[in-house]
Amino acid sequence: MYEIRIHGRGGQGAVLASAILAQAFVDEGQFAVAIPSFGFERRGAPVSACLRVDHREIRALTNIYNPDCVICIDPSLPRMVDIFAGIKPAGTLIQASGKHPEAIAHPGDLATLALCDAVAIALAIFGRPITNAIMLGAFARATGLVSLDALSGALEKAEFRDADLAQNQLALRRGHAETAVIALTPEPVS
Protein backbone atom coordinates (compact mmCIF):
# COMPACT_ATOMS: atom_id res chain seq x y z
CA MET A 1 0.00 0.00 0.00
CA TYR A 2 1.37 3.39 -1.00
CA GLU A 3 -0.48 6.51 0.15
CA ILE A 4 -0.34 9.90 -1.54
CA ARG A 5 -1.87 13.21 -0.52
CA ILE A 6 -2.19 15.99 -3.08
CA HIS A 7 -2.51 19.60 -1.90
CA GLY A 8 -3.55 22.49 -4.09
CA ARG A 9 -5.92 25.40 -4.43
CA GLY A 10 -9.38 25.36 -5.98
CA GLY A 11 -8.94 25.78 -9.76
CA GLN A 12 -5.53 24.13 -10.04
CA GLY A 13 -6.97 20.66 -10.53
CA ALA A 14 -5.75 18.79 -7.45
CA VAL A 15 -8.87 16.61 -7.28
CA LEU A 16 -8.80 15.91 -11.01
CA ALA A 17 -5.09 15.07 -10.69
CA SER A 18 -5.94 12.40 -8.10
CA ALA A 19 -8.48 10.83 -10.49
CA ILE A 20 -6.03 10.93 -13.42
CA LEU A 21 -3.33 9.34 -11.28
CA ALA A 22 -5.79 6.64 -10.16
CA GLN A 23 -6.65 5.95 -13.80
CA ALA A 24 -2.94 5.63 -14.70
CA PHE A 25 -2.29 3.18 -11.86
CA VAL A 26 -5.33 1.08 -12.81
CA ASP A 27 -4.21 1.04 -16.45
CA GLU A 28 -0.90 -0.41 -15.26
CA GLY A 29 -2.72 -3.21 -13.44
CA GLN A 30 -2.67 -1.77 -9.94
CA PHE A 31 -5.60 -0.98 -7.66
CA ALA A 32 -6.16 2.64 -6.73
CA VAL A 33 -8.75 4.60 -4.78
CA ALA A 34 -8.86 8.40 -4.80
CA ILE A 35 -10.86 10.32 -2.20
CA PRO A 36 -11.16 14.10 -2.49
CA SER A 37 -11.46 16.27 0.55
CA PHE A 38 -14.71 18.14 0.45
CA GLY A 39 -15.71 21.63 1.26
CA PHE A 40 -17.36 24.34 -0.71
CA GLU A 41 -15.61 24.59 -4.04
CA ARG A 42 -14.07 28.02 -4.42
CA ARG A 43 -11.20 29.15 -6.59
CA GLY A 44 -8.09 29.69 -4.52
CA ALA A 45 -9.26 27.88 -1.40
CA PRO A 46 -6.98 25.08 -0.14
CA VAL A 47 -8.12 21.64 -1.30
CA SER A 48 -6.62 18.19 -0.98
CA ALA A 49 -7.17 14.70 -2.31
CA CYS A 50 -6.00 11.30 -1.10
CA LEU A 51 -4.88 8.39 -3.23
CA ARG A 52 -4.15 4.82 -2.19
CA VAL A 53 -2.35 2.41 -4.48
CA ASP A 54 -1.91 -1.30 -3.92
CA HIS A 55 -1.36 -4.52 -5.82
CA ARG A 56 -4.57 -5.89 -4.33
CA GLU A 57 -8.09 -4.58 -4.01
CA ILE A 58 -8.49 -1.61 -1.66
CA ARG A 59 -11.62 -1.67 0.49
CA ALA A 60 -11.27 1.30 2.83
CA LEU A 61 -13.02 4.45 1.59
CA THR A 62 -11.37 6.78 4.08
CA ASN A 63 -9.06 9.76 4.15
CA ILE A 64 -5.29 9.34 4.44
CA TYR A 65 -3.60 10.42 7.67
CA ASN A 66 -0.08 9.05 7.19
CA PRO A 67 0.95 9.55 3.57
CA ASP A 68 4.14 8.13 2.06
CA CYS A 69 4.19 11.01 -0.40
CA VAL A 70 2.89 14.56 -0.47
CA ILE A 71 2.40 16.34 -3.79
CA CYS A 72 1.91 20.07 -3.35
CA ILE A 73 0.91 21.70 -6.62
CA ASP A 74 0.89 25.27 -5.30
CA PRO A 75 4.06 27.09 -4.18
CA SER A 76 2.42 29.34 -1.59
CA LEU A 77 0.30 26.69 0.14
CA PRO A 78 2.92 25.40 2.65
CA ARG A 79 2.79 28.83 4.34
CA MET A 80 -0.85 28.32 5.34
CA VAL A 81 -1.48 24.55 5.36
CA ASP A 82 0.52 21.90 7.25
CA ILE A 83 1.12 19.81 4.14
CA PHE A 84 3.38 17.44 6.11
CA ALA A 85 0.73 16.49 8.69
CA GLY A 86 1.18 12.80 9.48
CA ILE A 87 3.76 12.12 6.75
CA LYS A 88 5.63 8.86 7.31
CA PRO A 89 9.36 8.87 8.11
CA ALA A 90 11.56 8.75 5.00
CA GLY A 91 8.74 10.21 2.96
CA THR A 92 8.66 12.02 -0.35
CA LEU A 93 7.72 15.65 -1.07
CA ILE A 94 6.97 16.74 -4.61
CA GLN A 95 6.65 20.49 -4.49
CA ALA A 96 5.76 23.08 -7.10
CA SER A 97 8.38 25.73 -6.53
CA GLY A 98 10.98 27.80 -8.33
CA LYS A 99 13.09 28.06 -5.17
CA HIS A 100 16.43 26.49 -4.43
CA PRO A 101 16.15 23.18 -2.50
CA GLU A 102 17.82 24.77 0.53
CA ALA A 103 14.95 27.23 0.77
CA ILE A 104 12.26 24.52 1.06
CA ALA A 105 11.21 23.82 4.64
CA HIS A 106 10.55 20.16 5.30
CA PRO A 107 10.68 17.59 8.10
CA GLY A 108 14.18 16.44 8.96
CA ASP A 109 13.39 12.83 8.20
CA LEU A 110 12.21 13.45 4.63
CA ALA A 111 14.06 11.15 2.22
CA THR A 112 13.20 12.57 -1.19
CA LEU A 113 12.55 16.12 -2.31
CA ALA A 114 11.46 16.84 -5.87
CA LEU A 115 11.07 20.40 -7.13
CA CYS A 116 9.43 21.64 -10.28
CA ASP A 117 8.80 25.28 -11.19
CA ALA A 118 5.27 24.34 -12.20
CA VAL A 119 3.75 27.82 -12.09
CA ALA A 120 6.29 29.16 -14.62
CA ILE A 121 5.62 26.17 -16.91
CA ALA A 122 1.84 26.53 -16.49
CA LEU A 123 1.91 30.25 -17.29
CA ALA A 124 3.88 29.46 -20.45
CA ILE A 125 1.46 26.71 -21.57
CA PHE A 126 -1.95 27.76 -20.23
CA GLY A 127 -1.43 31.42 -19.38
CA ARG A 128 -2.81 30.46 -15.95
CA PRO A 129 -1.35 28.63 -12.96
CA ILE A 130 -2.98 25.26 -13.71
CA THR A 131 -0.29 22.99 -12.31
CA ASN A 132 -1.92 19.57 -11.96
CA ALA A 133 -0.68 17.77 -15.09
CA ILE A 134 2.80 19.26 -14.66
CA MET A 135 3.02 17.92 -11.12
CA LEU A 136 1.84 14.47 -12.22
CA GLY A 137 4.85 14.46 -14.55
CA ALA A 138 7.00 15.50 -11.59
CA PHE A 139 5.54 12.64 -9.51
CA ALA A 140 6.38 10.08 -12.21
CA ARG A 141 9.92 11.44 -12.47
CA ALA A 142 10.51 11.50 -8.73
CA THR A 143 9.01 8.14 -7.74
CA GLY A 144 9.05 5.97 -10.87
CA LEU A 145 5.84 4.40 -9.52
CA VAL A 146 3.87 5.15 -12.68
CA SER A 147 4.99 5.54 -16.27
CA LEU A 148 4.71 8.68 -18.34
CA ASP A 149 2.86 6.61 -20.96
CA ALA A 150 0.20 5.55 -18.46
CA LEU A 151 -0.26 9.16 -17.32
CA SER A 152 -0.49 10.29 -20.93
CA GLY A 153 -3.17 7.65 -21.58
CA ALA A 154 -5.05 8.72 -18.45
CA LEU A 155 -5.02 12.35 -19.62
CA GLU A 156 -6.74 11.23 -22.84
CA LYS A 157 -9.62 9.80 -20.79
CA ALA A 158 -10.01 12.89 -18.60
CA GLU A 159 -12.33 15.80 -19.21
CA PHE A 160 -10.73 19.21 -18.92
CA ARG A 161 -12.70 22.33 -18.24
CA ASP A 162 -10.02 25.01 -18.54
CA ALA A 163 -7.54 23.69 -21.11
CA ASP A 164 -7.26 21.22 -23.97
CA LEU A 165 -5.67 17.80 -24.15
CA ALA A 166 -2.61 18.85 -26.20
CA GLN A 167 -1.75 21.53 -23.65
CA ASN A 168 -2.08 19.02 -20.82
CA GLN A 169 0.09 16.45 -22.61
CA LEU A 170 2.78 19.11 -23.06
CA ALA A 171 2.40 20.09 -19.41
CA LEU A 172 2.85 16.45 -18.33
CA ARG A 173 6.00 16.04 -20.44
CA ARG A 174 7.54 19.31 -19.30
CA GLY A 175 6.78 18.51 -15.65
CA HIS A 176 8.55 15.19 -16.08
CA ALA A 177 11.54 16.72 -17.87
CA GLU A 178 11.98 19.77 -15.66
CA THR A 179 11.87 18.23 -12.20
CA ALA A 180 14.93 18.10 -9.96
CA VAL A 181 15.00 15.10 -7.63
CA ILE A 182 17.13 15.43 -4.53
CA ALA A 183 17.94 12.42 -2.34
CA LEU A 184 18.18 13.70 1.23
CA THR A 185 20.04 12.14 4.09
CA PRO A 186 17.29 11.86 6.66
CA GLU A 187 18.24 13.07 10.11
CA PRO A 188 17.37 10.50 12.73
CA VAL A 189 14.29 11.52 14.69
CA SER A 190 15.32 12.27 18.26
Partner: protein, 410 residues
Protein backbone atom coordinates in the same frame (compact mmCIF):
# COMPACT_ATOMS: atom_id res chain seq x y z
CA UNK B 1 -14.19 -10.32 -16.01
CA UNK B 2 -16.84 -10.76 -18.64
CA UNK B 3 -14.96 -10.42 -21.95
CA UNK B 4 -17.44 -7.86 -23.24
CA UNK B 5 -17.28 -5.52 -20.28
CA UNK B 6 -14.88 -2.60 -20.06
CA UNK B 7 -13.07 -0.93 -17.21
CA UNK B 8 -13.36 2.71 -16.24
CA UNK B 9 -12.02 4.61 -13.26
CA UNK B 10 -14.82 6.71 -11.85
CA UNK B 11 -16.60 7.79 -8.69
CA UNK B 12 -19.80 6.36 -7.22
CA UNK B 13 -21.98 9.05 -8.79
CA UNK B 14 -20.65 8.32 -12.26
CA UNK B 15 -21.00 4.58 -11.64
CA UNK B 16 -24.69 5.12 -10.87
CA UNK B 17 -25.10 7.18 -14.05
CA UNK B 18 -23.51 4.41 -16.15
CA UNK B 19 -25.95 1.93 -14.62
CA UNK B 20 -28.91 4.15 -15.44
CA UNK B 21 -27.74 4.47 -19.04
CA UNK B 22 -27.51 0.69 -19.30
CA UNK B 23 -31.01 0.22 -17.80
CA UNK B 24 -32.52 2.40 -20.55
CA UNK B 25 -35.11 4.44 -18.61
CA UNK B 26 -37.74 6.30 -20.64
CA UNK B 27 -38.05 9.32 -18.35
CA UNK B 28 -35.47 10.85 -16.01
CA UNK B 29 -36.49 13.85 -13.90
CA UNK B 30 -33.88 15.67 -11.85
CA UNK B 31 -33.10 18.58 -9.62
CA UNK B 32 -29.43 18.95 -8.64
CA UNK B 33 -28.34 18.92 -5.01
CA UNK B 34 -25.03 18.27 -3.25
CA UNK B 35 -23.65 15.56 -3.20
CA UNK B 36 -25.84 14.15 -5.98
CA UNK B 37 -25.19 16.86 -8.61
CA UNK B 38 -22.44 15.19 -10.64
CA UNK B 39 -24.65 12.09 -11.00
CA UNK B 40 -27.47 13.94 -12.74
CA UNK B 41 -25.00 16.10 -14.67
CA UNK B 42 -23.49 12.90 -16.09
CA UNK B 43 -26.96 11.68 -17.04
CA UNK B 44 -27.71 15.03 -18.72
CA UNK B 45 -24.48 14.65 -20.67
CA UNK B 46 -25.43 11.11 -21.75
CA UNK B 47 -28.79 12.41 -22.98
CA UNK B 48 -27.23 15.45 -24.72
CA UNK B 49 -24.70 13.24 -26.50
CA UNK B 50 -27.40 10.85 -27.64
CA UNK B 51 -26.03 7.95 -25.61
CA UNK B 52 -29.15 7.71 -23.47
CA UNK B 53 -32.48 7.88 -25.26
CA UNK B 54 -34.57 9.21 -22.39
CA UNK B 55 -36.82 12.19 -21.77
CA UNK B 56 -34.78 14.34 -19.37
CA UNK B 57 -37.01 16.65 -17.33
CA UNK B 58 -35.24 19.42 -15.43
CA UNK B 59 -38.02 20.62 -13.16
CA UNK B 60 -38.25 23.27 -10.47
CA UNK B 61 -37.76 21.11 -7.39
CA UNK B 62 -37.85 17.61 -5.98
CA UNK B 63 -41.58 17.62 -5.30
CA UNK B 64 -42.08 18.11 -9.02
CA UNK B 65 -39.40 15.55 -9.84
CA UNK B 66 -41.29 12.74 -8.21
CA UNK B 67 -44.73 14.00 -9.26
CA UNK B 68 -43.59 14.04 -12.90
CA UNK B 69 -42.17 10.54 -12.56
CA UNK B 70 -45.39 9.27 -11.00
CA UNK B 71 -47.26 10.30 -14.13
CA UNK B 72 -44.61 8.76 -16.36
CA UNK B 73 -44.54 5.54 -14.38
CA UNK B 74 -48.36 5.28 -14.35
CA UNK B 75 -48.20 5.55 -18.14
CA UNK B 76 -45.79 2.61 -18.29
CA UNK B 77 -42.42 4.38 -18.47
CA UNK B 78 -39.28 3.12 -16.79
CA UNK B 79 -38.08 6.03 -14.63
CA UNK B 80 -35.08 7.24 -12.63
CA UNK B 81 -34.11 10.04 -10.33
CA UNK B 82 -31.56 10.73 -7.62
CA UNK B 83 -31.57 13.05 -4.64
CA UNK B 84 -29.95 13.78 -1.28
CA UNK B 85 -30.85 15.08 2.19
CA UNK B 86 -32.95 18.25 1.91
CA UNK B 87 -33.98 17.27 -1.64
CA UNK B 88 -35.49 14.08 -0.26
CA UNK B 89 -37.27 16.13 2.41
CA UNK B 90 -38.81 18.38 -0.25
CA UNK B 91 -39.86 15.23 -2.13
CA UNK B 92 -41.65 13.78 0.87
CA UNK B 93 -45.32 14.11 -0.16
CA UNK B 94 -45.07 12.27 -3.49
CA UNK B 95 -42.42 10.03 -1.91
CA UNK B 96 -44.82 8.50 0.61
CA UNK B 97 -47.50 8.03 -2.07
CA UNK B 98 -45.26 6.11 -4.45
CA UNK B 99 -45.24 2.72 -2.68
CA UNK B 100 -49.03 2.78 -2.18
CA UNK B 101 -49.44 3.49 -5.89
CA UNK B 102 -47.22 0.41 -6.46
CA UNK B 103 -44.96 2.31 -8.83
CA UNK B 104 -41.76 0.37 -9.58
CA UNK B 105 -39.40 3.35 -9.68
CA UNK B 106 -35.68 3.31 -9.06
CA UNK B 107 -34.17 6.32 -7.32
CA UNK B 108 -30.66 6.74 -5.95
CA UNK B 109 -30.23 8.37 -2.57
CA UNK B 110 -26.78 9.89 -2.38
CA UNK B 111 -26.90 9.95 1.39
CA UNK B 112 -26.44 13.28 3.13
CA UNK B 113 -26.84 14.26 6.73
CA UNK B 114 -29.93 16.26 7.64
CA UNK B 115 -30.28 19.88 8.66
CA UNK B 116 -29.84 21.55 11.07
CA UNK B 117 -27.03 22.47 11.84
CA UNK B 118 -26.28 23.44 8.24
CA UNK B 119 -24.33 20.66 6.58
CA UNK B 120 -23.66 19.55 3.00
CA UNK B 121 -21.81 16.30 3.68
CA UNK B 122 -22.50 12.59 3.85
CA UNK B 123 -24.50 10.80 6.54
CA UNK B 124 -27.50 8.48 6.38
CA UNK B 125 -29.93 10.63 8.34
CA UNK B 126 -31.87 11.36 5.13
CA UNK B 127 -32.77 7.77 4.32
CA UNK B 128 -33.19 6.77 7.95
CA UNK B 129 -35.82 9.50 8.33
CA UNK B 130 -37.94 7.79 5.62
CA UNK B 131 -37.02 4.20 6.44
CA UNK B 132 -40.62 3.07 6.86
CA UNK B 133 -42.27 4.93 4.02
CA UNK B 134 -42.65 1.71 2.00
CA UNK B 135 -39.69 2.04 -0.36
CA UNK B 136 -37.21 -0.82 -0.59
CA UNK B 137 -33.87 0.42 0.80
CA UNK B 138 -30.62 -1.12 -0.44
CA UNK B 139 -27.15 0.11 0.62
CA UNK B 140 -23.92 -0.20 -1.38
CA UNK B 141 -20.33 -0.49 -0.23
CA UNK B 142 -18.35 0.27 -3.41
CA UNK B 143 -18.73 2.08 -6.72
CA UNK B 144 -18.89 -1.29 -8.48
CA UNK B 145 -21.72 -2.37 -6.22
CA UNK B 146 -23.52 0.90 -6.94
CA UNK B 147 -23.39 0.23 -10.68
CA UNK B 148 -24.47 -3.40 -10.37
CA UNK B 149 -27.21 -2.67 -7.84
CA UNK B 150 -28.85 0.20 -9.73
CA UNK B 151 -29.32 -2.14 -12.69
CA UNK B 152 -30.56 -4.98 -10.47
CA UNK B 153 -32.98 -2.58 -8.76
CA UNK B 154 -35.10 -2.38 -11.90
CA UNK B 155 -35.60 -6.15 -11.94
CA UNK B 156 -36.49 -6.07 -8.24
CA UNK B 157 -38.89 -3.11 -8.47
CA UNK B 158 -40.66 -4.34 -11.61
CA UNK B 159 -41.07 -7.94 -10.45
CA UNK B 160 -44.82 -8.76 -10.51
CA UNK B 161 -44.81 -9.92 -6.90
CA UNK B 162 -42.98 -6.79 -5.71
CA UNK B 163 -44.12 -3.69 -7.72
CA UNK B 164 -42.52 -1.30 -5.26
CA UNK B 165 -40.10 1.61 -5.60
CA UNK B 166 -36.44 0.99 -4.76
CA UNK B 167 -33.92 3.41 -3.30
CA UNK B 168 -30.34 2.43 -4.02
CA UNK B 169 -28.30 4.22 -1.35
CA UNK B 170 -24.70 5.28 -1.68
CA UNK B 171 -22.92 7.44 0.87
CA UNK B 172 -22.31 11.04 -0.02
CA UNK B 173 -18.64 12.07 -0.31
CA UNK B 174 -16.62 8.93 0.41
CA UNK B 175 -18.56 6.84 -2.12
CA UNK B 176 -20.21 9.50 -4.30
CA UNK B 177 -16.83 11.17 -4.99
CA UNK B 178 -14.40 8.33 -4.20
CA UNK B 179 -12.78 7.19 -7.45
CA UNK B 180 -11.97 3.53 -8.13
CA UNK B 181 -11.87 0.86 -10.80
CA UNK B 182 -15.33 -0.07 -12.10
CA UNK B 183 -16.31 -2.68 -14.68
CA UNK B 184 -19.08 -1.58 -17.00
CA UNK B 185 -21.02 -4.48 -18.47
CA UNK B 186 -21.90 -4.74 -22.09
CA UNK B 187 -25.30 -3.28 -23.16
CA UNK B 188 -26.65 -6.49 -24.78
CA UNK B 189 -25.82 -8.43 -21.62
CA UNK B 190 -27.71 -5.90 -19.48
CA UNK B 191 -30.63 -5.95 -21.95
CA UNK B 192 -30.77 -9.73 -21.64
CA UNK B 193 -30.57 -9.52 -17.86
CA UNK B 194 -33.39 -7.00 -17.53
CA UNK B 195 -35.60 -8.66 -20.16
CA UNK B 196 -38.48 -7.02 -21.91
CA UNK B 197 -39.66 -3.80 -20.29
CA UNK B 198 -43.05 -4.28 -18.65
CA UNK B 199 -43.11 -1.53 -16.10
CA UNK B 200 -46.64 -0.85 -15.10
CA UNK B 201 -48.88 -3.60 -16.34
CA UNK B 202 -51.44 -3.15 -13.55
CA UNK B 203 -52.29 0.53 -14.07
CA UNK B 204 -51.07 1.90 -17.39
CA UNK B 205 -52.69 5.25 -18.10
CA UNK B 206 -54.23 4.80 -21.51
CA UNK B 207 -56.74 7.18 -23.19
CA UNK B 208 -58.23 4.18 -24.99
CA UNK B 209 -58.82 2.39 -21.71
CA UNK B 210 -59.69 5.02 -19.07
CA UNK B 211 -59.71 3.98 -15.44
CA UNK B 212 -59.72 5.58 -12.01
CA UNK B 213 -56.42 5.51 -10.16
CA UNK B 214 -55.95 6.00 -6.43
CA UNK B 215 -59.63 6.31 -5.44
CA UNK B 216 -60.73 7.59 -2.03
CA UNK B 217 -60.49 4.52 0.21
CA UNK B 218 -61.14 3.74 3.89
CA UNK B 219 -63.51 5.46 6.27
CA UNK B 220 -65.55 4.17 9.16
CA UNK B 221 -67.79 1.75 7.31
CA UNK B 222 -66.60 -1.84 7.43
CA UNK B 223 -66.28 -2.27 3.67
CA UNK B 224 -64.13 0.84 3.26
CA UNK B 225 -62.01 -0.09 6.25
CA UNK B 226 -61.43 -3.59 4.91
CA UNK B 227 -60.46 -2.28 1.49
CA UNK B 228 -57.93 0.09 3.04
CA UNK B 229 -56.52 -2.75 5.14
CA UNK B 230 -56.26 -4.87 1.99
CA UNK B 231 -54.08 -2.20 0.35
CA UNK B 232 -51.82 -2.03 3.38
CA UNK B 233 -51.57 -5.83 3.59
CA UNK B 234 -50.75 -5.99 -0.08
CA UNK B 235 -47.91 -3.49 0.38
CA UNK B 236 -46.53 -5.46 3.32
CA UNK B 237 -46.78 -8.66 1.25
CA UNK B 238 -44.89 -7.00 -1.60
CA UNK B 239 -42.18 -6.00 0.84
CA UNK B 240 -41.86 -9.50 2.26
CA UNK B 241 -41.92 -11.10 -1.20
CA UNK B 242 -39.13 -8.72 -2.20
CA UNK B 243 -36.67 -10.59 0.05
CA UNK B 244 -36.75 -13.69 -2.17
CA UNK B 245 -36.77 -11.60 -5.34
CA UNK B 246 -33.72 -9.58 -4.22
CA UNK B 247 -31.85 -12.83 -3.53
CA UNK B 248 -32.89 -14.36 -6.84
CA UNK B 249 -31.92 -11.25 -8.84
CA UNK B 250 -28.51 -11.09 -7.14
CA UNK B 251 -27.93 -14.78 -7.93
CA UNK B 252 -28.87 -14.19 -11.58
CA UNK B 253 -26.51 -11.20 -11.70
CA UNK B 254 -23.62 -13.29 -10.41
CA UNK B 255 -24.36 -15.96 -13.02
CA UNK B 256 -24.64 -13.46 -15.87
CA UNK B 257 -21.69 -11.22 -15.01
CA UNK B 258 -19.42 -13.39 -12.87
CA UNK B 259 -19.45 -10.86 -10.05
CA UNK B 260 -21.58 -11.48 -6.98
CA UNK B 261 -22.80 -9.34 -4.12
CA UNK B 262 -24.57 -10.52 -0.98
CA UNK B 263 -28.26 -9.70 -1.49
CA UNK B 264 -29.51 -9.23 2.08
CA UNK B 265 -26.68 -9.36 4.61
CA UNK B 266 -23.03 -10.00 3.81
CA UNK B 267 -21.14 -12.23 6.20
CA UNK B 268 -17.41 -11.53 6.33
CA UNK B 269 -15.10 -13.90 8.29
CA UNK B 270 -17.99 -14.74 10.57
CA UNK B 271 -17.90 -18.53 10.84
CA UNK B 272 -15.57 -18.78 13.84
CA UNK B 273 -16.09 -15.21 15.04
CA UNK B 274 -16.74 -14.24 18.63
CA UNK B 275 -17.57 -10.62 17.84
CA UNK B 276 -19.62 -9.29 14.95
CA UNK B 277 -19.41 -5.74 13.64
CA UNK B 278 -22.69 -4.69 12.04
CA UNK B 279 -22.13 -2.14 9.29
CA UNK B 280 -24.06 -0.45 6.49
CA UNK B 281 -22.79 1.32 3.38
CA UNK B 282 -19.32 2.56 2.52
CA UNK B 283 -17.95 2.27 6.07
CA UNK B 284 -17.81 -1.52 5.60
CA UNK B 285 -14.42 -1.64 3.83
CA UNK B 286 -12.64 -0.05 6.78
CA UNK B 287 -14.54 -2.40 9.13
CA UNK B 288 -13.29 -5.44 7.18
CA UNK B 289 -9.72 -4.12 7.32
CA UNK B 290 -10.11 -3.67 11.09
CA UNK B 291 -11.46 -7.22 11.41
CA UNK B 292 -8.45 -8.57 9.49
CA UNK B 293 -6.08 -6.60 11.72
CA UNK B 294 -7.81 -7.83 14.89
CA UNK B 295 -7.63 -11.42 13.67
CA UNK B 296 -3.91 -11.02 13.08
CA UNK B 297 -3.76 -10.23 16.82
CA UNK B 298 -5.83 -13.30 17.66
CA UNK B 299 -9.19 -11.61 18.21
CA UNK B 300 -11.92 -13.45 16.32
CA UNK B 301 -13.95 -10.73 14.63
CA UNK B 302 -16.28 -10.80 11.63
CA UNK B 303 -18.50 -8.29 9.86
CA UNK B 304 -22.22 -8.42 9.14
CA UNK B 305 -22.94 -5.83 6.47
CA UNK B 306 -26.57 -4.86 5.95
CA UNK B 307 -27.16 -4.68 2.19
CA UNK B 308 -30.95 -4.70 2.23
CA UNK B 309 -32.33 -2.61 5.09
CA UNK B 310 -36.00 -2.42 3.99
CA UNK B 311 -37.53 -4.94 4.04
CA UNK B 312 -35.35 -5.86 7.01
CA UNK B 313 -33.92 -9.35 6.35
CA UNK B 314 -34.82 -10.73 9.78
CA UNK B 315 -34.04 -14.39 9.03
CA UNK B 316 -30.78 -13.71 7.19
CA UNK B 317 -29.64 -11.38 9.94
CA UNK B 318 -30.54 -13.81 12.73
CA UNK B 319 -28.66 -16.57 10.88
CA UNK B 320 -25.54 -14.39 10.79
CA UNK B 321 -25.89 -13.13 14.35
CA UNK B 322 -26.27 -16.68 15.68
CA UNK B 323 -22.58 -17.23 14.90
CA UNK B 324 -21.26 -14.63 17.35
CA UNK B 325 -21.45 -13.84 21.07
CA UNK B 326 -21.52 -10.04 20.92
CA UNK B 327 -22.37 -7.36 18.38
CA UNK B 328 -21.09 -3.83 17.83
CA UNK B 329 -23.54 -1.98 15.57
CA UNK B 330 -22.20 1.09 13.78
CA UNK B 331 -24.72 3.61 12.49
CA UNK B 332 -24.18 6.67 10.30
CA UNK B 333 -27.41 8.23 11.60
CA UNK B 334 -29.25 8.90 14.84
CA UNK B 335 -32.55 7.67 16.23
CA UNK B 336 -33.39 10.66 18.41
CA UNK B 337 -36.32 8.87 20.01
CA UNK B 338 -34.31 5.85 21.18
CA UNK B 339 -30.93 7.49 21.84
CA UNK B 340 -29.16 5.00 19.59
CA UNK B 341 -28.57 4.30 15.93
CA UNK B 342 -31.48 3.20 13.71
CA UNK B 343 -29.73 0.01 12.57
CA UNK B 344 -29.10 -0.82 16.23
CA UNK B 345 -32.86 -0.63 16.91
CA UNK B 346 -33.49 -3.07 14.08
CA UNK B 347 -30.77 -5.41 15.28
CA UNK B 348 -32.39 -5.62 18.72
CA UNK B 349 -35.79 -6.21 17.14
CA UNK B 350 -34.42 -8.93 14.85
CA UNK B 351 -32.71 -10.73 17.73
CA UNK B 352 -35.83 -10.94 19.90
CA UNK B 353 -37.72 -13.66 17.92
CA UNK B 354 -34.57 -15.78 17.94
CA UNK B 355 -34.59 -15.76 21.74
CA UNK B 356 -30.92 -14.94 21.66
CA UNK B 357 -29.63 -12.52 24.27
CA UNK B 358 -26.11 -11.15 23.99
CA UNK B 359 -24.23 -7.89 24.49
CA UNK B 360 -25.11 -5.49 21.69
CA UNK B 361 -23.57 -2.01 21.59
CA UNK B 362 -24.66 1.02 19.58
CA UNK B 363 -21.97 3.15 17.93
CA UNK B 364 -22.76 6.31 15.99
CA UNK B 365 -20.15 7.81 13.69
CA UNK B 366 -19.41 9.22 10.28
CA UNK B 367 -22.03 11.97 10.64
CA UNK B 368 -21.87 15.04 8.39
CA UNK B 369 -18.87 13.89 6.39
CA UNK B 370 -16.83 12.61 9.35
CA UNK B 371 -14.43 9.84 8.50
CA UNK B 372 -14.92 6.30 9.87
CA UNK B 373 -11.47 4.75 9.78
CA UNK B 374 -9.97 1.40 10.62
CA UNK B 375 -8.90 2.96 13.95
CA UNK B 376 -12.53 3.76 14.79
CA UNK B 377 -13.49 0.15 14.12
CA UNK B 378 -10.59 -1.04 16.27
CA UNK B 379 -12.21 0.93 19.09
CA UNK B 380 -15.59 -0.63 18.30
CA UNK B 381 -13.98 -4.07 18.49
CA UNK B 382 -12.26 -3.31 21.81
CA UNK B 383 -15.42 -1.98 23.46
CA UNK B 384 -17.59 -4.82 22.14
CA UNK B 385 -15.03 -7.34 23.35
CA UNK B 386 -15.05 -5.74 26.78
CA UNK B 387 -18.84 -6.06 26.85
CA UNK B 388 -18.45 -9.83 26.30
CA UNK B 389 -16.90 -10.20 29.72
CA UNK B 390 -19.82 -8.29 31.23
CA UNK B 391 -22.40 -10.47 29.54
CA UNK B 392 -24.76 -10.42 32.46
CA UNK B 393 -24.82 -6.64 32.62
CA UNK B 394 -27.82 -4.80 31.16
CA UNK B 395 -27.40 -3.37 27.66
CA UNK B 396 -25.98 0.16 27.78
CA UNK B 397 -28.66 2.82 27.59
CA UNK B 398 -26.63 5.25 25.46
CA UNK B 399 -24.63 4.96 22.27
CA UNK B 400 -20.88 5.40 21.91
CA UNK B 401 -20.36 8.49 19.76
CA UNK B 402 -17.40 8.05 17.45
CA UNK B 403 -15.89 11.33 16.19
CA UNK B 404 -17.04 12.97 19.44
CA UNK B 405 -13.63 14.50 20.02
CA UNK B 406 -11.24 13.82 22.83
CA UNK B 407 -10.41 10.44 21.34
CA UNK B 408 -7.04 9.48 19.94
CA UNK B 409 -6.38 10.55 16.38
CA UNK B 410 -6.86 7.71 13.92
Amino acid sequence: MNHLSRVVVCDGNEAAAWAVKLARPDVVAVYPITPQSSLVETLAKFVAEGELDAELMTVEGEHSVLSALQGACLAGARTYTATSGPGLAFMFEPYVRTPGLRLPMVASLVNRDMLSPQCVWGGQQDVMTVRDAGWIQIFCESAQEVLDTVIMAYRIAEHPSVMLPVNVNHDGNYLSFGVSRVEIPDQPAVDAFLGEKNVNWHVALDPERPMAVDPLTGGADAEGAARFVAYRQSLCRGMQDALAVISEVHADWARAFGRGHAPLVEEYRLDDAEIGLVTIGSMSGAAKDAADAARAEGVRVGVIRIKTFRPFPIAAFAHAAAKVRALGVVDRAVSYGWNCGPVYQDVLAALYPSGRRMPVLSFIGGLAGADLTEAHFARVIALTRAALTEAQAPLPSAPVWLNAGGEEKP
